[in-house]
Subunit: 301 residues, 2 copies
C-alpha cells in the first residue's frame, strides 16, 4: 500500500469527479464476470458464451478461457479457489457458444481435484475439444498467514511512467481484433517495450501494471487472465511471430488485495522452437499472489 | 563435454577395471527400465508393478511414479516423448500392483495429447486413483536445433567435491526406507547440504550431480525421475517436516546427452503452508534438458 499514491486506482476518484466517469465495477458485477459466466445445465455440465471482447487478432485469449473453465470447476467442486490449475490447449477456440464438462476426480478435506473440458461444435455440428484442464481447489481464506518468501516484487517504474495501449506507435499496431486491449488497464514498463518501436532488448522479460479497465479488483479468477495478458516475451527476444500457448499452469498463492497488480514475465530457455514463460503476479500489499509457467511455441512470422 | 574429466562416468572405467565392477546398464536394460515397465492389457490399459526400490521412508517417489505414467502414455500415443507433462497427486501410492488407464485426447501432426490415471486397489478390493496426468507428447528428434537460451548452467563444484549419501552424518539418517538412495548416484553441492548437519542456509536452493547408480544414461523418462529426486528445498529453509507434492509439471526440452546431469532446484515463495519448487536439469553438453515446477505442502514435523 506504500505505493498507492503511484497507482491508477488512487488517481481515479479525482478524474472521475471531473469527467463523471462511472463508478468502478465490482467483483461479481463486471464485464469480466458476465463474460466468464457459466450456466449449469446438468450434473457437472455448464454452458458458456465465449465473448469477442477478449480476442486478439483472431485468437480468444487463453487466460480468459482458463477463467471460464476455472469458474465452472469452482461451482462443481466443494472448494472455491484454484490452488493449482493446468490447461492443455488443443484447438483454437472461437467466439460463440461453448460447453464445459467437469469431472470431480477427488474431494478431500482441504483440497479437491477436478478436471474439465471446453467443447465447441464445428460447422457440421460435430464436437471438438478446445482445452483440457486439471486442478486442485481449496479455500485461500483457510491458509495460515505465514510468509517466508525470499521473492521480491519486480522493479517497475510508477504507473504514470509506464506505457498504455494509447502510447503504442503505428509500428506496434496489429491487424485484426484488439478488443482485449480495451478491457485491460495494462501499462508496460518502458524498459520492456522496445519491441514496439523495433528495438527489442534481447532479454526475455516483460513487466507491467495490470488492472481491468472497468476498475474491477482482482480475484483468483482474474489472476488466471492476468498471467496470460501481457505481450509475449518473445517480442523482446526479437521474434514477432505468433506464440501460441500449448500448456499453462497457474498457482494461486494468496487472495489478491484491492488495487492494481504488477506482473513480471520471464523466459530463460528459447530452444527447439519452444519457450517457457514464467509469470509472477504481485498485489498492492507486496504479496506474491500467483506464479505461472507456460510452454509456448515460437512460430516463424 | 568440457567437464567430462570431473564426472563420475569418466572416472568409472579405471575403477571398473580394478574392481571388476559390472559394465554400466544401458537405456532399455536397467533397473529403472524394469521397474517402470508397463504391460498392455487392452486398448489404452496397462499393468504396472510399483517397486519398493524407489521408496523413501514410506512414500513411493513421485518422479518414479510419473515415469511409469509417462511410459504408458508414450506407448499409447503416436509420439514418443513427453514435451510437457503434469501430474496431480491424489492419494499415497503403495508398492505393489497398479493399473494405468490412458485416454488419447487428441492426435496432431507434431503434438499428441493424452491423459492417464494410476489406479490401485484398497484391501477391500475397491479402486482408488493415485495420480491423474495430462501431457503433450512429441518427438524431440524432430525439433530444430536453434538454441537462444539466456539460461546458464548452475554453479556447482566438481562431482568429487560434492557429497554422496555415504557422506551423510548420523543426524541426516531418516527412519524408514532409504531404498531410492541406493539406486541414485546423487552428489549434493556442499553449499546446499547444511540441513544435514543442522545448519540450513536459509536459502531455498539445492544443487546436485545426478545419475542412476547402475550407470544407465538419462533419457526423457528418467528426467521425470530426476526433477523430483533431490532433498526438498524446504530442508535448507529450516523446515524438516514432510513436503508432499500436490502437483508437478515437467517440460522436457531436449534429449539428454550421455553422462551425468546437473540439477538446480529453487524455491522463491514459501507462504500459506505451500511452496513451489522449480528444477532445471542440465546435461553434459550444457544443454537445459528439462524444467519443472511443483506445488508442495510444507507440513509441520
Amino acid at each position: 500500500m506504500a505505493q498507492a499514491a503511484q497507482t491508477p486506482r488512487a488517481a481515479q476518484p479525482a478524474r472521475a469527479a471531473q469527467t463523471e466517469q462511472p463508478a468502478p465495477a465490482t467483483i461479481g458485477n463486471s464485464e469480466f464476470d458476465r463474460d466468464t459466466a457459466v450456466v449449469r445445465r446438468g450434473p457437472g455440465l455448464y454452458d458458456a458464451q465465449l465473448s469477442e471482447g477478449w480476442t486478439i487478432i483472431e485468437a480468444v485469449n487463453g487466460g480468459y478461457l482458463l477463467a471460464i473453465l476455472g469458474r465452472a470447476l469452482g461451482e462443481a467442486l466443494p472448494h472455491p479457489d484454484p490452488f493449482t490449475i493446468t490447461a492443455h490447449y488443443l484447438t483454437a477456440s472461437r467466439p460463440g457458444p461453448a460447453e464445459v464438462r467437469t469431472e470431480t476426480v477427488r474431494t478431500g478435506r482441504t483440497l479437491s481435484t477436478g478436471s474439465a473440458s471446453l467443447i465447441q461444435r464445428n460447422e457440421d455440428g460435430s464436437e471438438v475439444e478446445r482445452i483440457r484442464v486439471t486442478a486442485h481447489y481449496g479455500d485461500l481464506d483457510d491458509l495460515p498467514d505465514d510468509v517466508r518468501t525470499t521473492a521480491k516484487p519486480p522493479a517497475i517504474p510508477p504507473y504514470e511512467h509506464c506505457l498504455g495501449a494509447d502510447a503504442a506507435p503505428d509500428a506496434a499496431l496489429i491487424p485484426g481484433s484488439s478488443a482485449i486491449t480495451d478491457r485491460l488497464d495494462l501499462r508496460l514498463d518502458p524498459a520492456t517495450a522496445g519491441w514496439a518501436v523495433g528495438a527489442p532488448s534481447g532479454r526475455g522479460e516483460m513487466r507491467a501494471w495490470f488492472g481491468l479497465a472497468d476498475g474491477r479488483d482482482a480475484d483468483p479468477l482474474s489472476l488466471l487472465l492476468a498471467v496470460d495478458a501481457l505481450p509475449p516475451t518473445a517480442f523482446e527476444l526479437g521474434l514477432m511471430g505468433w506464440v501460441p500457448t500449448t500448456e499453462l499452469t497457474v498457482h494461486v498463492r494468496c487472495r489478491p488485495a484491492p488495487g492494481p497488480l504488477r506482473i513480471a514475465i520471464s523466459t530463460r530457455n528459447l530452444a527447439g522452437g519452444f519457450l517457457e514463460e514464467d509469470a509472477e503476479v504481485w498485489d498492492s500489499q507486496d504479496r506474491l499472489v500467483a506464479q505461472s509457467r507456460q510452454l509456448a511455441r515460437a512460430l516463424p512470422v
